[in-house]
């Protein structure tokens, strides 16, 4: 969760949703996101809504967190029902952070268990947790598997010590193959997160990180260009000149290298920053975000979306716990999207996917822009002839620019 919340409308204290969310709900998948706002240390580049024990003044809130989260699960179930939504079993669950695995596996299991009690879960559902390499053991992973988790996503980031150092990562490179093996042994699918373009990272450093990650044969890889977020320690370091800045051309070259090596290793891209070994191993929870499905986000600062209504919870864990202690919805604000905005979001999100967009679904300006996009090498010509807008490799790197060109002014 990013640390700044949007400005929106007020949200009702009982979590009730406007009637429009019921339309077509039966056809939309339902998922759950669980935010765990704790980390052992704060990485210099990270602006997610997460806190160290010291920042929160002791471990008390961590101990009580599972109970608080479970109470939001219950509130969510009540609110969805009271809003007239049909009962829908969970198709995907995603525990993200922060560092979910900083909590005891039992706590994560408890929250998941409470959610399954409320909604049930689809056979073959995808249940993921993010994890830092130094926050799991063979035992904790086995416990997660038993509780119903199917997938773990490790924040590997890099295999190069000096890069990990700039990123403030606490794990050693050798820890990664170990935890990957443990997850396999526990029967969990494995994804690795990588970051490229860190100040001081050479193209060869990046190649080495990619080759190393691929040598562990993950089922899935996310590779993110480093974003220097306002207000982070990294931003201050760059401003002061303590570390060099980042460079878009360097990022582009590294993205191209990533796509080349990851594809060669047998994984296919399916979203700008994501590659999966088989289509089934794509992260279905993330795809739900891009496709505009329904999900409820549990936890401080978590975002939710149901049928064109988006809302977000209060940011701070203490404020969040306070709301739930009074049985009040922790939502801080929400927005109800009109048809036009929903369409803008659909175009903005679907353009990033390998499945692309139907050209006939674009407005007039968008349809007219296609020829220019083909000429500039950003959109695949044969697919366009069949009515689909698919980004080329070059187009993926300029996806936001493409979206601006196909949206009405």
């Amino acid at each position: 969760m990013p640390s700044v919340l949007p400005l929106g409308d007020p949200a009702p204290s009982n979590g009730l949703l406007p009637p429009q969310v019921v339309d077509g709900a039966a056809d939309r998948a339902f998922g759950l996101y669980v935010h765990i706002p704790f980390c052992a240390v704060r990485c210099g580049y990270c602006d997610f809504n997460t806190y160290t024990a010291t920042e929160l003044g002791g471990g008390a809130s961590q101990d009580a967190y599972a109970s608080t989260a479970v109470s939001e699960v219950k509130l969510a179930a009540r609110a969805l029902k009271a809003s007239g939504l049909p009962p829908r079993p969970l198709r995907t669950v995603f525990f993200g952070g922060g560092t979910p695995t900083l909590l005891p596996a039992e706590d994560l299991a408890r929250i998941l268990g409470a959610a399954i009690d409320e909604w049930g879960i689809e056979p073959g559902a995808e249940v993921t947790t993010e994890a830092n390499p130094d926050s799991v053991t063979p035992e904790s992973l086995a416990l997660l598997k038993d509780a119903g988790f199917t997938r773990v996503s490790f924040g590997m980031q890099s295999a190069v010590p000096h890069v990990l150092k700039v990123l403030d990562r606490t794990h050693t490179p050798s820890r990664v193959p170990q935890v990957v093996q443990w997850a396999r042994d526990a029967g969990l699918a494995v994804s690795l997160d990588l970051i490229y373009g860190t100040p001081g990272e050479s193209l060869d450093d990046w190649r080495y990180s990619l080759e190393t990650a691929l040598s562990y044969e993950p089922d899935h890889i996310s590779a993110y260009a480093l974003i220097v977020e306002d207000g982070t320690k990294l931003a201050a370091q760059i401003r002061r000149g303590d570390v060099p800045g980042i460079d878009d051309d360097d990022h582009a070259a590294k993205y191209e290298l990533a796509d080349q090596l990851i594809s060669a290793a047998g994984l296919d891209w399916y979203e700008v920053s994501n590659w999966a070994r088989t289509p089934e191993q794509a992260c279905r929870h993330n795809l739900a975000y891009w496709r505009g499905d329904d999900w409820w986000g549990i936890g401080p600062g978590a975002h939710s979306h149901v049928g064109g209504v988006r809302w977000w919870n209060v940011k701070h864990p203490t404020a969040y716990a306070g709301r739930l202690a009074q049985a009040v919805s922790p939502a801080a604000g929400r927005e109800t999207l009109d048809a036009e905005t929903r369409n803008v979001e659909r175009i903005m999100l679907e353009a990033r996917l390998v499945s692309g967009l139907g050209i006939e679904s674009l407005g007039e300006q968008g349809r007219h822009a296609v020829a220019g996009l083909i000429a500039d090498g950003l959109v695949d010509a044969p697919a366009a002839f069949h009515g689909r807008l698919h980004l080329t490799l070059k187009g993926r790197l300029l996806a936001d620019a493409v979206v601006r060109r196909i949206l009405p002014d």
Binding site: G96, Y224, A252, S273, L349, L398, D400, R404
Partner: protein
């Protein structure tokens, strides 16, 4: 020494014999307005407690920049040997852009106080204004100012002045506008030495208009000097050039606040209010007469101020165009030197081509438009006016480079100036080098004193009007001064350089330059644009061309990455808001073909080093 006058002569009943009309002329900053302050104070028209420095510089822009832009006339009483006299003093601007203001003021006077900074000596506008005064047959009182300065060299500069206008160095008065030393002696000398105005009180009225100013409350206020006869309130007057008639609603003198009077008689200087709304109906240089008893012959007027440099003014926000149009209309009411006509630019939209007296005039006008009318403006690189003769003998006047004819050009003529440069003799070599490199032809050189020379050159206006003065200053360690005036035109080997983005010509960047300088302009502009225009999704070639011949090229590499890689944990709202912001940003871009050029890039590219803050010359 004279005391302050006990009784002031009353307007309309003042014998011309006790009137003295003079102006204060000098090089810029030699202290005219400060000396005027002391006169206002010593004659009692402004009380000490109301005094403020450069009292007559009333416009905000004059006060901020510490320079005079408009002449101001003030009537002051002064007593000498028991007689009360009426002095009309006109404080004039010193900057070369406003020389025409000086020449108008001179026509209302019999004498001029030629002021010279005792620490600087004679400078270029000292000479220029002196010659103007001599052409008008004025009696000249040479005065050294700022004698309180430790760096003052009164002996040396008194000799220089005496040498210039003839006479004895001992006759050169020494004053300090700052301390007031010598100012009363100067007032006495004005009364003694300057001739009284002469005119026929019984003849039909004739008054010369030497200034016309628009005032929101009073309409047009017209400043006149009466030559013959008498003007009274409520009577019908006629403008002799247009035959337009008006009723005199008010007549009076500035003292320095407007003070209505029973009329104005021979030799008097004052103002008229007729209720007209446009200064052009009360034209500077015109003669006012009485409708009932009109004069047969008008006084000889002066030539209209002629615009020298032209620039396109465009509102940053296209919807401000009507605001700009109204604002120009209003400014023009007060500034007869301002000319403009609408024009359109493919790159900048709707705007106006505006003619100015010089860069300072441009800068001040632009600043007033922005400040007083709350506008954000882009001004295109200034240029002079060319006369292009085509092979079919058709003649076109080009004030906008993008209108330079594309057909067969037989001949191009460019405006010329005669320039006078004053500097210590050690800089002669450097100055000659500079003038030569600007296609100048030397006209002559004189020693004003042992170590100071006057160098005369004939130069193309386009070569001196922009950065020349700054270079001169730096080559003479600040000691050089420059004056110029229009001096015909000449045939020149000029070409139009176009700038193209991705093959698309950008009209706002076209320039007319001498063939030898075209390459330098092309390299400069393409290089600048490469820095200023953000990378696009495709490579953008930038070319400079004369006709179809490319003389310089640069290219902006295509941007390779424009995508937010990270998924913000389902915070789609943030992503959408970011997109909306980017789309808004795109709307503020000017499109040149497919190339998105931010307005800031246009502004920066058009802000030549020449047009940056050249307030003082």
């Amino acid at each position: 020494m004279s005391p302050m006058a006990r009784t002031a002569p009353v307007p309309a009943a003042t014998d011309p014999a006790i009137i003295r009309n003079f102006c204060i002329i000098a090089h810029i900053d030699h202290g005219k307005s400060t000396l005027a302050d002391r006169m206002l104070q010593f004659t009692g028209v402004v009380q000490s407690r109301d005094m403020k420095a450069q009292y007559l510089d009333r416009m905000d822009i004059e006060r901020e920049r510490g320079i005079t832009i408009k002449s101001q006339a003030v009537r002051m009483p002064w007593e000498l040997d028991g007689t009360s006299y009426a002095l009309n003093m006109i404080d004039t601007p010193g900057h070369v852009d406003f020389t025409y203001e000086v020449s108008r003021s001179l026509a209302a006077c019999e004498g001029a106080v030629l002021l010279v900074d005792a620490a600087q000596g004679i400078e270029a506008q000292t000479l220029a204004n002196l010659y103007l005064a001599m052409e008008n047959n004025l009696t000249i009182i040479p005065v050294l100012n700022k004698i309180d300065l430790p760096a003052a060299q009164p002996e040396k500069y008194a000799a220089e002045l005496a040498n210039l206008i003839g006479g004895d160095p001992d006759d050169v008065l020494r004053v300090s506008g700052k301390t007031g030393a010598g100012v009363e002696v100067l007032l006495d000398k004005i009364v003694r030495d300057l001739p009284a105005p002469v005119g026929n009180p019984d003849a039909p009225a004739r008054a010369m208009i030497f200034d016309s100013v628009y005032d929101t409350y009073r309409g047009v206020v017209t400043y006149v000097r009466v030559v013959d006869g008498m003007l009274h309130p409520r009577e019908k007057i006629q403008m002799m050039s247009t035959r337009a008639t008006h009723e005199l609603l008010e007549i009076g003198v500035s003292s320095p606040e407007p003070t209505p009077s029973k009329g104005l008689g021979v030799g008097e200087v004052g103002y008229l209010i007729t209720g007209v709304k446009d200064v052009r109906q009360s034209k500077v240089g015109d003669t006012v007469t009485n409708l009932a008893k009109p004069a047969a012959q008008s006084l000889s007027g002066y030539a209209d101020a002629k615009p020298m440099v032209f620039s396109g003014l465009y509102p940053l926000d296209g919807t401000d165009y009507p605001v700009l149009r109204d604002a120009l209309e209003k400014l023009m009411l007060n500034d007869a030197a301002l000319v403009y006509e609408p024009e359109t630019s493919a790159a900048l939209g709707f705007g106006f081509r505006v003619g100015f007296l010089g860069l300072l005039h441009l800068e001040i006008t632009r600043e007033r438009l922005e400040r007083e009318y709350n506008l954000d403006l882009i001004s295109t690189a200034p240029n002079v006016e060319y006369e292009v003769t085509l092979e079919d003998k058709k003649v076109v006047h080009v004030t906008n480079p993008s209108e330079y004819p594309t057909g067969k050009v037989a001949e191009v003529r460019e405006p010329m100036v005669s320039a006078t440069i004053l500097a210590p003799n050690e800089f002669v070599g450097a100055i000659m080098e500079l003038c030569q490199s600007r296609r100048g032809v030397m006209g002559g050189m004189d020693y004003l004193s042992e170590d100071r020379v006057e160098i005369r050159y004939r130069l193309p206006l386009a070569e001196i009007v922009f950065d020349f003065f700054d270079i001169l200053k730096s080559k003479t360690r600040g000691y050089g001064s420059l004056d110029w005036k229009a001096d015909g035109d000449q045939v020149a080997d000029l070409v139009k350089v176009d700038i193209m983005l991705q093959g698309e010509q950008v009209d706002a960047f076209s320039a007319i330059t001498h063939r030898d300088k075209a390459y330098a302009y092309g390299v400069m502009m393409t290089g600048k644009l490469r820095e200023l225009i953000p990378r696009q999704q495709f490579e953008v070639p930038i070319q400079a061309a004369i006709g179809s011949r490319i003389i310089a090229r640069e290219s902006i590499r295509a941007i390779r990455k424009d995508v937010l890689a990270k998924c913000y944990g389902g915070d789609i709202t943030r992503k959408r808001k970011l997109l909306e912001k980017q789309k808004e940003g795109k709307k503020r871009m000017k499109m040149v073909g497919r190339v998105e050029v931010p307005q800031e890039a246009f502004i920066a590219a058009l802000t030549t080093d020449e047009s940056k803050d050249k307030a003082k010359k």
